[in-house]
């Protein structure tokens, strides 16, 4: 298929999106079902043409058709196959097309899944999704078209190639995962808007989108964790989270979405918090669009901004339109949204959930303020004030610890009201466990937030185990089952509840990993062959320095032996210094890159960076970091994914 076919498919998708909106809007007025079916099929048509244009662009990337500007900019003949595939989201127009591609997958699933369901909600759901598709189709058709021909009057023999930082397997997975999360929230948002348009603010729309929200949340969480993993493996500063604007852009919708996932339980069970839930899903979706704006506009300087453009104002207008229209609708439906039920007690699960929601939103606001403050200060006062990790850590560490504590408190509270006796019965074991842990940690020599974090982790794990124990004993008494059978039956019959608890275990493990950051140590030094240096009780000896040429880069490889303070062998590390595009005659276009090597254990990571090489004297410049407990963050991530999958697993009715 030629690139022209791709561009035509995008044009047709644009036309179909307008027709779909018109058809379904007329249907909402005259209820002619033929218009509904046509609108539904137009929506499927939009997706079909988006799929077609995406596959055509992928094909052009694979065959290295440098007549297309996008292909020439982000790939070269030497680019490995997997990175030709991932080049689709490496640049601006491609990544916007990719956003649209994922949205079209979700829109198709939504339409097909609900062909004979939610007939009241579906017209406005499809209209909302088509409007979002229309926005991205305007961008990809008229602002930044991925099928633009190369602006050169000669045959382009080779392309620029992909940025070396993006030539990493994690980076091939991280953006799609994150996008699946961002885009996934379009569906719950569309249902929310539809509920508002239909004046149907019962729990129906909540029940329809719970699974969707969880899927989007799973992808967003995985995307954030993978992003941290990529930063840790690739960027070479020894950390996984730097409160970078683009990182924050993904974290903000995660916070509001997590709050939403908790508060919809209250609406489902108690029919409360209708306004709050509407506001949360609108905010979450808006923050997803805002996140795309931050990543793609170039308004923020970030390690993740691989493109900068003039898209900012268009995105900003869309963000404001979403906010104005959604909140105006909420205002117009305020009487329908008002719930008759009220919280009955401060010590109830409803109150616990509401409090946890407030903390999530406060944290989101703190991150939002810190992220945007440099832009606001530059606009208002003309000087850019940088807000760095110290600000975010100062604000968010205490808030994070409160959230961790609430993770433990929530499950122990009863619905409506928890009696004094229940409070004592439920909290005695977890609080005692936390206190004993605190005494032990203080005795070991830990202080401050480290002790609080570790003790709260123990407290939360104790509450979760208490919950499992209560559930198992209830089943063993009622059905006379063995412990394992009771555990299996309990989890499989209450997947969302126990899946949620497993997610909480994952979060606790991640907090343990975050706390390890307090003990990080690092040192930079130079070595010649046979020389040694020491960091955090380890000895590092340079055994060998070798060189090699690979298809897309030239590399110097150091071989460093690591021994502990008793002189016992630990591992060999092989960090590399690479030059990408080394064959390019223009020296300025050759790109140096440090490829790390990490020795990872449950206890600590030894992180080595090959900073520079002095070829003449055979000297290598090395940076070593010893980072305790980092692996717990990744283990926590795996557990979080497993827990969410359990919660998502379909049940037999």
């Amino acid at each position: 298929m030629t690139p022209i076919a791709g561009a035509v498919a995008l044009n047709l998708a644009f036309g179909f999106s307008i027709l779909s909106i018109i058809c379904l809007f007329i249907f909402t007025l005259n209820e002619d079902k033929r218009l509904f079916l046509t609108g539904q099929r137009l929506s499927l048509g939009i997706s079909f043409f988006v799929f077609l244009s995406t596959f055509i662009l992928w094909y052009q990337l694979i065959i290295s058709n440098f007549d297309i500007d996008y292909v020439a900019r982000y790939t070269s003949i030497e680019t490995p196959f997997i990175y030709k595939i991932s080049a689709l989201w490496a640049g601006q127009s491609g990544s916007l097309l990719f956003w649209l591609f994922i949205l079209s997958i979700f829109a198709t699933i939504t339409v097909l899944q609900n062909q004979s369901k939610h007939h009241g909600l579906m017209p406005w759901v499809i209209i909302s999704l088509s409007i979002i598709q229309l926005f991205f189709l305007i961008l990809t058709n008229f602002v930044t078209n991925p099928f633009m021909p190369t602006d050169a009057d000669f045959v382009v023999a080779n392309g620029n190639g992909l940025n070396p930082l993006l030539q990493n397997v994690t980076m091939a997975i991280h953006p799609p995962t994150l996008y699946l999360g961002y885009v996934g929230f379009s569906v719950p948002f569309a249902f929310a808007i539809s509920a508002l348009m239909n004046r149907d603010t019962s729990t129906l729309w909540i029940q329809s989108i719970r699974r969707w929200t969880l899927v989007a949340w799973l992808f967003l969480s995985s995307g954030i964790i993978l992003g941290g993993w990529w930063a840790y493996q690739e960027l070479g500063w020894g950390g996984y989270w730097a409160w970078d604007p683009v990182e924050n852009a993904s974290f903000m919708p995660w916070l509001t979405a997590t709050a939403f996932l908790h508060s919809i339980i209250i609406q489902e069970k108690k029919d409360m918090l209708r306004i709050w839930n509407m506001a949360l899903i609108i905010l979450t979706f808006t923050l997803c669009i805002f996140g795309t704006f931050l990543t793609r506009s170039g308004v923020m300087s970030s390690v993740h901004s691989f493109t900068a453009s003039s898209l900012g104002p268009i995105f900003l207008i869309f963000v404001f339109l979403i906010l104005i229209i959604s909140f105006s609708l909420m205002y117009l439906r305020k009487s329908e949204l008002r719930s008759e039920k009220r919280m009955e007690s401060f010590t109830s699960r409803e109150s616990g959930f509401l409090f946890n929601n407030l903390v999530f939103v406060v944290m989101c606001f703190a991150v939002f303020w810190g992220t945007l403050f440099p832009v606001i200060s530059e606009t208002v006062r003309g000087t850019k004030i940088t807000v760095g990790p110290p600000f975010f850590n100062q604000i968010n560490v205490p808030i994070g610890l409160i959230l961790l504590a609430l993770t433990g408190v929530g499950p122990l509270l009863a619905w409506r009201n928890t009696s004094k006796q229940s409070l004592i019965k439920n909290f005695t074991f977890p609080i005692l466990s936390g206190l004993i842990a605190a005494i032990i940690f203080l005795f070991i020599g830990f202080r401050g937030s480290v002790v609080i974090s570790f003790s709260l982790s123990v407290f939360v794990l104790a509450t979760i185990s208490t919950e499992f124990k209560r559930g198992i004993s209830a089943r063993t008494k009622k059905f006379n089952e063995s412990i394992f059978k009771a555990l299996f039956a309990m989890v499989s019959k209450n997947r969302s509840r126990y899946g949620g608890y497993i997610v909480h275990v994952g979060i606790v493990f991640m907090f343990v990993g975050f706390t390890g950051h307090a003990f990080d140590k690092e040192k930079e030094f130079s070595l010649t062959k046979g020389q040694s240096d020491h960091v955090a009780g380890y000895e590092f000896t340079l055994l060998k320095l070798s060189e090699t040429e690979r298809p897309n880069h030239y590399a110097w490889i150091s071989d460093i032996r690591v021994t502990d303070n008793k002189g016992e062998y630990v591992t060999n590390l092989y960090p590399e210094k690479r030059i990408y595009f080394h064959k390019n005659p223009d020296v300025n276009r050759r790109q140096p890159h440090s490829e790390l090597d990490i020795y990872s254990t449950l206890n600590k990571d030894i992180y080595s960076i090959f900073s520079a090489v002095d070829n003449e004297n055979g000297v290598v410049f090395i940076k070593i970091m010893v980072n305790p407990l980092v692996r717990w963050v990744w283990i926590g991530g795996y557990i979080l994914v497993i827990g969410t999958m359990i919660a998502l697993w379909p049940r037999k009715d």
Partner: protein, 93 residues
């Protein structure tokens, strides 16, 4: 032969989708549509209500709600289920 291939591709990828999209406009008026949709929504609602009753009993078993709350909420849910079942039966007839 290239032009045959090209026209075939254009027909498959561009003309067929357009025919698929506009086809419902040439149908006669659809009558049974709403009834079918209502029935499936009601069945779904019934399933969700049964699930809520089971969850409620589980909450009671593990001590998260007291006897009084269990009875009140179960009664409310049962009333709702019976209303839904009545509607389903009416729809089937």
């Amino acid at each position: 032969m290239d032009y045959i291939r090209d026209y075939s591709l254009v027909f498959i990828f561009f003309v067929l989708p357009i025919i698929f999209v506009i086809q419902p406009l040439f149908l006669k008026k659809i009558n049974d549509f709403e009834n079918q949709m209502d029935l499936s929504s009601l069945k779904r609602k019934k399933r969700l209500l049964y699930r809520q009753i089971k969850e409620l009993e589980m909450e009671f078993d593990i001590g998260n709600i007291n006897q009084k709350d269990l009875e009140t909420s179960r009664k409310e849910l049962k009333v709702e289920v019976s209303e839904v079942i009545t509607k389903i039966n009416a729809n089937k007839i």
